[in-house]
């Protein structure tokens, strides 16, 4: 039986090819569900038609779902290894158990709980590659991207969730149009073993007793190989219509076996498959599951998947191209919008600048001509004012000293050294530089906030001097006090007196000293504050 690909929708879609010993059924996927179905017999004519189909149909990815008797399973344990070591161990195991086939698969099943906690794996293989290779060869010849070669039994694991299976021991039973009765045993939702039994053509024999007979055989086999876990076994049978009634009558639940009969049409509805399925076969459901979930490849070899890799690269590049163009368009567009906005603002600013320039020119024309800018006129005047404010002459100091001397006519000034500056502690010519020369009780000036300072060092003598040092000291200190009392005076320091009363100094003499000193010299430093600094 073959259907000619005469009305193929050449749109770009995914598709699944269910490979059975007798035929290959191709399902097209589109809009979230299967749209078209094509069947190719497993003979030369079917292969020719498949070749033509591949040639004429669009080169969308093809997912191959294999459902054949010649699929074997082995549970093994291997040391817990990683990387190349693990790969080497697995390759050795696969080569040992499944010689002569490239279609092998390893399904991890966790780790052992005791001992060295080895990894548990399910090794599976399609032991007769000739059932698959003619189809894959045509795909490669026609450069069709084969996305993967999948085991129907392993794919059916996904159905457990959809039909809400809770129990740990499950036997899933389904019929496929061209392969037969698939019985897969799961323990804790992990496939343990699967068996495909041939079925007579629909309607030629009563199916219910046939199915139950096959189940009985498989159950006995599971017990014999000690795969069946303790506890009741839940058997889920997918069927439809007239087949369900006899099954319901003949399936007898017991302590060890519980039957669950599922209508294929109900399961299809739960999976979201559109339309109503009217056959007891489940090919459609598995193809839908595969195309919807698109799991990782099981059996496909690098050569089989070569064009799929290229297809992925091609899709990736096209996607990247679109993304680049989109990003460039968005980024460039944003820049362009910003640039246009800036251009508009620049034009507006230029117009306003022109208006203000004209107004400024007119206003400026009304001002008189000056040799420099008005602001510079202001600066020059301010400089002159500042220099005038800081202008100093010794006349203020001379006046202050004269007024202080009014009450002290015997004090004769011999010299006066004077300077002006902003440092009140500046040293004047003739002034002792060392601190030890400063008598105690003097008042060194601090920073009193004056604009600048005038500093003078006066040298003088008491004339006439009668030799009374105490009286001389009193007069000199009195003069210093008179100076300090002047409002502008910021500091007065008596630097030198006729008789050194400082305990730090040395003193010599005798009680019978007849000679009377003729002079009593003194030195006084005066600091005058001038003006008050602004602020």
């Amino acid at each position: 039986m073959s259907s000619r690909p005469s009305s193929i929708d050449y749109g770009r879609r995914r598709r699944a090819a269910c490979v059975a010993p007798e035929a290959v059924t191709v399902y097209h996927w589109g809009g979230g569900g299967i749209t078209d179905t094509f069947v190719f017999d497993a003979d030369d004519a079917g292969l020719c038609l498949f070749d033509r189909y591949l040639r004429e149909s669009d080169k969308g990815p093809l997912y191959m779902l294999v459902d054949v008797v010649e699929e074997e399973y082995r549970h093994e344990t291997i040391p817990h290894l990683y990387g190349a070591d693990r790969r080497a161990v697995l390759e050795r195991k696969l080569a040992w158990f499944f010689r002569g086939t490239p279609y092998t698969h390893v399904l991890p099943e966790g780790r052992e709980t005791e001992g060295r906690r080895d990894d548990k794996v399910l090794l599976s293989a399609i032991t007769n590659p000739e059932l698959v290779q003619p189809w894959t060869r045509l795909c490669v010849q026609q450069k069709v991207p084969v996305a993967g070669i999948y085991s129907l039994a392993i794919v059916s694991t996904a159905l457990l969730d959809r039909i809400k299976v809770k129990s740990p021991n499950v036997l899933m039973v389904s019929m496929q149009t061209h392969s037969g009765l698939r019985q897969s045993y799961f323990r804790d939702r992990v496939i343990q073993i699967s068996r495909l039994a041939k079925m007579p053509r629909l309607g030629t024999v009563p199916f219910a007793p046939y199915i139950l007979n096959e189940l009985d055989k498989f159950e006995r086999y599971l017990k014999n190989v000690q795969l069946l876990a303790e506890g009741p076994l839940d058997i889920y049978i997918l069927a439809h219509g007239e087949l369900l009634d006899p099954l319901e009558r003949q399936c007898r639940n017991s302590e060890t076996v519980r039957y669950h009969l599922l209508d294929v049409a109900d399961v299809a509805r739960r999976l979201g498959i559109q339309g109503v399925l009217t056959t007891p076969f489940s090919d459609y459901i598995y193809a839908h599951l595969l195309l919807k979930k698109r799991p990782r490849n099981h059996y496909g070899q690098a050569e089989d998947l070569k064009y799929y890799r290229l297809h992925q690269a091609r899709s990736g590049m096209l996607l990247a191209s679109a993304a680049i163009l989109l990003l460039a368009a968005v980024g460039g567009g944003l820049n362009l919008v910003e640039a246009l906005s800036l251009r508009q603002r620049a034009a507006s600013a230029e117009q306003r600048a022109g208006i203000y320039q004209a107004q400024f020119n007119a206003a400026k024309g009304r001002l008189p001509e000056t040799p420099v800018d008005p602001q510079d006129i202001k600066t020059a005047v301010a400089i002159a004012d500042t220099l005038s404010r800081y202008k100093a002459t010794p006349l203020e100091m001379m006046r202050e000293v004269s007024r202080a001397l009014d009450g002290y006519p015997e004090l004769q000034i011999a010299s006066l050294n004077w300077l002006a500056g902003t440092d009140p502690n500046a040293v004047v010519e003739g002034e002792p530089r060392s601190d030890e020369d400063t008598p105690p009780g003097s008042t060194p000036p601090g920073d009193s906030g004056d604009l600048y300072y005038q500093i003078a060092v006066l040298t003088g003598e008491i004339r006439p001097f009668d030799g009374d040092f105490r009286a001389a000291l009193d007069r000199i200190n009195g003069f210093a006090a008179a100076l300090r009392a002047r409002p502008a005076v910021r500091g007065v320091t008596v630097l030198n007196v006729p008789f050194d009363v400082d305990p730090a100094g040395e003193l010599q003499g005798g009680a019978d000293d007849a000679a009377r000193p003729e002079k009593a010299e003194f030195t006084v430093k005066v600091v005058l504050g001038v003006g008050r600094a602004a602020g």
């Binding site: 070569k306 064009y307 890799r309 290229l310 690269a313 091609r314 899709s315 096209l318 191209s321 679109a322 680049i324 163009l325 990003l327 460039a328 368009a329 980024g331 460039g332 820049n335 362009l336 910003e338 640039a339 800036l342 251009r343 620049a346 600013a349 230029e350 306003r352 600048a353 203000y356 107004q359 001002l367 000056t370 040799p371 420099v372 008005p374 602001q375 510079d376 006129i377 202001k378 600066t379 020059a380 005047v381 400089i383 500042t386 220099l387 800081y390 202008k391 100093a392 002459t393 010794p394 006349l395 001379m398 011999a414 010299s415 006066l416 050294n417 300077l419 002006a420 902003t422 600048y452």
Partner: protein, 206 residues
């Protein structure tokens, strides 16, 4: 997949599309970015010009006020030699005339070359440079009022601004005698004469 296994025919179109998209995308983005940058620069320049001219326009009233209030004083400062060239001859004439009128027993002067002035107080000079000429005066005085007379004459008649930096006074005789030609006091003072000039060397012409 090795490079040798790649069938370039399968991906040639996509690869070409990728290269083309990258080229178009880069060109589009670069062109738009450059256009935006150019507009940004142009806008910044115009905006700066607008701010400048707006500021100048708003300052016209203030400039008018400055001219009305400060320009006469500026002119006076220029004429008195505070702004522009110093008036050394005028200073010397004033000193000599004062010495003659006041009958100062002796007066010697010495003026050093003009040099930039570095003040020890805050002075915002703007486009100007302040220069200073140091004048040393050695005076033989009858009494201290002679110095007052000299400084008063400089204040009133000499063109320019000066400040006395330092002075020393010494009594030259034991007894002060009130004879007109008698040098009872000796004084040495240093005066700083200030002038204000444009820092760029341009002359200010009224």
């Amino acid at each position: 997949m090795r490079l040798a296994d790649i069938e370039w025919g399968v991906i040639r179109g996509a690869l070409g599309a990728l290269v083309l998209a990258a080229a178009i995308g880069a060109t589009l983005y670069t062109a738009a970015t450059r256009f935006r940058d150019a507009m940004q620069v142009k806008y910044s320049e115009i905006h700066q010009r607008l701010q400048s001219v707006t500021g100048k326009y708003l300052a016209v009233d203030q400039e008018d006020m400055i001219i009305r209030e400060q320009y006469p004083r500026f002119v006076e400062l220029v004429r008195k030699g505070v702004i522009g060239n110093e008036q050394r001859l005028n200073w010397i004439e004033v000193l000599k005339r004062t010495a003659a009128i006041t009958k100062i027993p002796s007066l010697r002067y010495e003026i050093a070359a003009r040099e930039p002035f570095t003040p020890d107080f805050g002075l915002a000079t703007g486009p100007y440079q302040v220069r200073v000429s140091k004048m040393k005066l050695d005076l033989g005085l009858l009494h201290e009022n002679d110095l007052s007379a000299v400084l008063a004459a400089l204040d009133g008649k000499a063109d320019g601004i000066y400040s006395v930096r330092d002075c020393t006074f010494r009594r030259s005789a034991e007894r002060i005698e009130p004879r007109l030609d008698r040098e009872n006091l000796k004084s040495a003072c240093e005066l700083l004469w200030f002038t204000i000039r444009l820092a760029n060397g341009n002359e200010i012409k009224l």
